[in-house]
């Protein structure tokens, strides 16, 4: 997975950094220690592939159920440094929660996603 910021409104690399900042890496035990002797780098690559595959699946569904929805633009990730990514992750979490409270949700192939989430996957899969 080598997609970069130049290829997408939110580049895959940035999205993966965002996911890591949001706790994904720690949550699934991919912090570099590996499990069962598996190669940590390989695990991380598999995880990233799964994440991007998920985005593709969801984006396809969102495109059908909400064809007018636009991808999240690049301003979400103004900076590429760690602090910037953490701040963006926090802002995304807040925006997603606010969407749910407001009932701003999108049917993504049966999944109930916040509009911001749906726009995020559109951006990643673009």
């Amino acid at each position: 997975v080598t997609g970069g910021a130049a290829d997408h409104p939110i580049g895959r690399r940035r999205f993966l950094a965002l996911a890591a900042a949001a706790g994904f890496g720690a949550a699934v035990g991919c912090s570099g220690t590996g499990e069962g002797g598996a190669d940590p780098g390989e695990e991380a690559a598999e995880r990233d592939d799964a994440l991007l595959a998920a985005c593709a699946v969801l984006a396809a569904a969102v495109s059908t159920s909400a064809p007018d929805l636009t991808p999240l633009d690049d301003s979400v990730l103004a900076r590429d440094d760690a602090d910037g990514v953490r701040a963006a992750a926090a802002a995304l979490r807040d925006a997603i929660a606010a969407d749910f409270v407001a009932g701003a949700t999108v049917d993504a192939g049966g999944w109930v996603l916040a509009t911001t989430e749906a726009r995020l996957v559109l951006a990643v899969a673009a």
């Binding site: 706790g23 699946v57 749910f100 409270v101 049966g110």
Partner: protein
């Protein structure tokens, strides 16, 4: 007095002071209270001390409406009742919950709603019933859940409220009280005694005779010297009233034409999946109180729409629970590749790993006229017409179920702890089978208005002054709660009424 079979009464004409037909939780709770108050009671039970296939065959009937699905199986009418000392309590899981106050209110958006009394009237009787069923007193909400050591997610209580279900040990009334019944000086239990007909006086205002038959062919006609209480459940109650046609073709207590009309169940569905972050921190399912707590009741928390949500959405009450214990029939079949791929993304967004739970929901249905219990042209071996169960639900049932899941999705998302998959494997929520709860209700509904109900607020039949109906048959509407706790509460309440009546 003793526990004996009807055959031992052959050739006699019993004249019970109070006759209770049915020995389930309703009938036995009532009888035990009456005996404690010094009144003599005869309790008749169609079954024996243990379940028998012969007794079960008396329950065979026709299902012509919605199928009766339960735990993934399609049931017959003989599978949803129990003719045995203790009735359905001999087989129940013990799941209990009181009705919510809104369930008893007349709600403009719920045609047919409105009990003839408020929740305040039931409150003291619920406390009695909790004791009878060995439940934690009053532990039905978030506070009760917290007191038992549970935690609750930060849901908006204006939208969804924590609804706690408790599991009775379970109390099996026949097993539990058999010795006490056998030793009671006041209670006379007669087994293998099926009430096949109620015969009123010519003016229809009093029960003159109750015809009892055994499977060996013995017929005994009881001539009650006081009240007769029909406590045989939501299906047998209308069957007995409708089959008692000696004075009127429409049966006994049926001038309203409502006996058997408005049959209700608790429509259930196991559909959709919730992916919940860190469920260990959110014991949302089956919480056992700390060791040493008594009674050792198991609790299960879910959520119900708030009163404001029900009104705003124009839906009935309901509850939604999460089942973390692994696959549960079709709804929990192996996730699709898409679901497996999406779940990590949701974990990423939530910032924590997620665990999958199957969503189970149940909602209140309305007492619609097309949903009925009728009599078949075929009779059972005792000569009683078999029943025809023609169950239907109103259009609001599926809508309420969908809204409940959508609201859960909203609250899980807003709290940042999970996401909901509404259409596992591409099947819409409404495409998953609708099941029953084994909670037949509404076939002899309660109303202060004789044209709108079979019994009054005291459970006395409007048409027959010494005939009472006790049980879920009398529920005007059924909320979403398992009915046994309310049935037992009503039994304690009716006992107090009959005691007061006996004392003039």
């Amino acid at each position: 007095m003793t526990i004996r079979s009807l055959d031992e009464l052959a050739g006699t004409t019993p004249t019970p002071t109070i006759l209770v037909i049915g020995s389930g939780p309703a009938g036995l709770t009532l009888a035990l209270d009456l005996a404690e108050a010094g009144l003599d009671v005869m309790v008749t039970e169609s079954g024996a001390a243990e379940m028998t296939e012969a007794a079960r065959q008396l329950d065979r009937g026709e299902v012509v409406g919605e199928p009766l699905r339960f735990n993934g199986n399609e049931l017959g009418t003989e599978d949803v009742r129990m003719r045995v000392l203790g009735g359905a309590s001999e087989h129940w899981t013990g799941m209990c919950r009181p009705l919510d106050p809104i369930d008893l209110r007349a709600r403009p958006w719920r045609p047919g709603s409105g009990w003839p009394f408020s929740a305040d009237e039931l409150e003291p009787w619920y406390r009695r019933a909790e004791d009878t069923l060995e439940l934690r007193s009053g532990a039905w909400d978030a506070a009760g859940w917290h007191a038992a050591g549970g935690s609750t997610p930060p849901f908006d209580s204006d939208v969804l409220l924590t609804a706690v279900h408790q599991f009775s040990p379970p109390v099996r009334f026949g097993t539990r009280h058999r010795d006490a019944l056998a030793e009671s000086a006041r209670i006379d239990v007669v087994l293998d005694a099926t009430a096949t007909e109620l015969v009123t006086a010519p003016d229809g205002r009093r029960v003159q005779e109750v015809v009892l038959r055994s499977r060996s062919g013995v017929e005994v006609v009881a001539r009650p010297d006081g009240p007769v209480v029909v406590a045989v459940g939501g299906l047998e109650t209308p069957r007995l009233l409708l089959a008692s046609r000696r004075r009127a073709a429409s049966g006994v207590a049926n001038s309203s034409g409502l006996v058997g009309v408005g049959f209700m169940e608790h429509p259930h569905r196991w559909a959709g999946r919730a992916h919940v972050a860190a469920p260990d921190d959110l014991p949302l399912h089956r919480l056992a109180p700390p060791p040493g707590e008594a009674p050792p009741t198991l609790l299960w928390a879910g959520w119900s729409p708030s009163d404001a949500t029900q009104e705003a959405e124009a839906i009935g009450n309901g509850s939604i629970l999460l089942w973390f214990d692994g696959p549960r029939e079709e709804a929990a079949a192996v996730p699709t590749a898409e679901a497996a791929a999406v779940a990590p993304l949701l974990g990423a967004v939530a910032g924590r790993p997620s665990t999958e739970a199957v969503i189970t929901m149940r909602v209140e249905q309305l007492p619609i006229d097309t949903s009925q219990v009728r009599l078949s042209s075929e009779a059972d071996e005792l000569g009683v017409p078999r029943l025809v169960l023609d169950w239907h639900v109103d259009d609001g049932v599926d809508r309420a179920m969908r809204r409940l899941v959508e609201l859960l999705a909203r609250e899980l998302g807003a709290a940042g702890i999970g996401r909901v998959e509404l259409e596992p494997q591409g099947t819409p929520l409404e495409g998953w089978p609708r099941e029953i709860g084994n909670h037949p209700m509404g076939t002899a509904r309660m109303s202060a208005d004789p044209s709108r109900g079979v019994v009054d607020a005291d459970l006395r039949c409007h048409d027959v002054e010494d005939l009472y109906v006790l049980g879920s048959a009398t529920f005007p509407t059924g909320g979403h709660a398992n009915p046994t706790l309310t049935v037992v509460a009503l039994a304690h309440r009716l006992a107090a009424h009959l005691v007061a009546r006996s004392r003039g």
